[in-house]
Amino acid sequence: MQQIKTDAAALAQVRRQMRSIEEIAQDLPELSSSETLPIPKYVIEVKSHFFNWKAGASELGTYSPYETIIRIMQENAELRLENRKLATIAAKLDKRMNILESKLPGEENVVVLREITREEAKAEIANLFSEGQTLYYSDIATKLRLDLELVVDICNELMSEGEISVADSA
């Protein structure tokens, strides 16, 4: 929003402080210069228009070069304003879409459960606890990509065997 205000202020300033046609024409880049960036089409149009007009051979309608420059610069500033507004709207939409996407069961969230034997699963769970971590059933199911029900069943078995217990922090 601040940028839009700045652009509007810049447009007003251009309108107020427009210099003479000669000065503006002098400031326009040379058409033959080897610039790294391409010269905007409107700059070429304005410069060509100015020199043709000076030579009395303008073919660009009833606008004087001064009017043409003002018109094109206004158009340019308006387009920049419009562009800023659209960019702001696009950013807001992007943010909303990200929120919506995060709530959808996207492809990234699909986990293919591993099909391993109960004994292998039990060994892996025991191994996970041997690292000294405190884990919830859901943590184990996610980390080892195992069925939640199987994890609960095996954890109960490990608890009855005295291998694991409810953490002291509970």
Binding site: S138, E149, D153, V166, A167, A170
Partner: protein, 64 residues
């Protein structure tokens, strides 16, 4: 050592209450957000088909 005995509730109308509950189901339908205070919004959802829920407890290796 605290004990954890798994009791499975299957009767219609049985309820679960806990601080953290892990669930799995074939269908999860998001419900509405019930506005409370700014930091205490409650969200509802419905689980359907082959539902399994477990009240989570933090587990760790036993001290031997």
């Amino acid at each position: 050592m605290k004990s954890a005995l798994l009791i499975v509730h299957r009767n219609i109308g049985d309820a679960l209450r806990g601080e953290k509950i892990a669930v799995k189901a074939e269908k999860i339908r998001m419900g509405n957000v019930q506005a409370g205070s700014s930091h205490h919004q409650i969200q509802t959802l419905t689980l359907e088909d082959k539902v399994f829920c477990i009240i989570e407890i933090p587990l760790a290796a036993s001290r031997k």
